[in-house]
């Protein structure tokens, strides 16, 4: 029994955790590890990018760019955050860079970019957004439309919290904002989403 315990202990010491394996693989720029990560995270990343950009084509471009950036900057991943959190941070930074390239006058946060990119205008128009087109079910369409009408800063924290199940600390890291700001966006975002959904139902 004691021997078995010792074996389990030594296994738990020598067996690397998933985060350690990811760190090592990223440092080695191991393409097989990247394949596994792409398989594991592609849906979540794509969903986040679609919610961020509101545009399937832009999300596809950023999707590929994000994974290339993960490969290039893999040595910077330090296990402080879960891999998913780091991935979303990279994706968001690439989105902000792309928006700034398009509108050099735009600011550095999502709300300002929202206005500069005209995304909010597209979202509130009657024409279905590309995000709409991806939704298969009627309910899904209604929620997507409601979400589209929200400000990007609300939409993004709602998606990260309730779709991706990120903690407040993780969301704060992704959106580069203090925790109280994240909380306040979540509260306001929830209210706004409720209003939109009730408006849609009426």
């Amino acid at each position: 029994m004691v021997r078995m315990d010792a074996t389990i202990l030594s296994l738990s010491i020598t067996m690397p955790t998933e985060a350690q394996e990811i760190t090592r693989g990223l440092r080695r720029r191991d393409p097989d590890l990247l394949d596994q990560l792409i398989e594991q995270y592609h849906y979540r990343l794509f969903r986040y990018l679609v919610s961020l950009t509101g545009n399937r084509d832009a999300a596809e471009d950023l999707f590929q760019e994000t994974w290339i950036r993960v490969l290039e900057r893999g040595h910077q991943y330090n296990q402080k955050w879960k891999f998913g959190t780091w991935l979303f941070t990279i994706a968001r930074n690439l989105f902000l860079d792309a928006m700034r390239r398009k509108n050099p006058a735009a600011g550095s946060n999502v709300e300002e970019l929202d206005e500069a990119s005209g995304f909010a205008d597209t979202a509130t128009s009657d024409a279905p957004s590309p995000f709409d087109l991806q939704s298969q079910r009627e309910d899904s369409d209604r929620v997507v439309r409601a979400l589209d009408r929200l400000s990007s800063s609300y939409r993004e924290v709602l998606v990260l919290r309730f779709q991706e199940d990120l903690s407040l600390e993780e969301i704060a890291a992704v959106v580069a904002a203090p925790i109280p700001t994240v909380k306040s966006r979540l509260y306001r975002g929830m209210e706004a989403l409720k209003d939109q959904l009730q408006g849609g139902r009426a």
């Binding site: 929620v143 309730f162 779709q163 509260y187």
Partner: protein
Amino acid sequence: MTQELHNRAQGLIAAARVEGISPTDREWLDAHLQNCSSCSEYASDTEHAIRSLHLISVQVDPALVARTKRAVHIRARQLNGQRSQLWPLWMLCAISWVLGGITLPLVWRGIEWVGQYVNLPSPIEIFLLVLWWALPTLGVAAFISSKGAKAAGE
């Protein structure tokens, strides 16, 4: 019931989903919801809004995933190739450091002799010695950064 109680209940309903609430608050809220239809409706609307986010389905094109994997493999080969190309350069750099260290007394004597011959101030002699020792490294660093800039440009 006062408006204050409804406000408290609605604040707790939202807080429960955003940051969590204490067991005491949870108990109070549950008791309040049993007796208050408007707050119960508020709670169910909140739940509905949050649950609705899970209804969104996004289709990911398998071709996009395959394309991305290919792009990542190509870039990984490029980067790892650059890394292996630079390895001999770093080795040469290390050898030159070691040789520089071994021959330091000899070179210092030579610089001193030249310094006396052309009457150089000693800070310049020291500068020449440091330069002689650091020159290969600086050369390699310049080469690597120019290669890096070229790769970034590509």
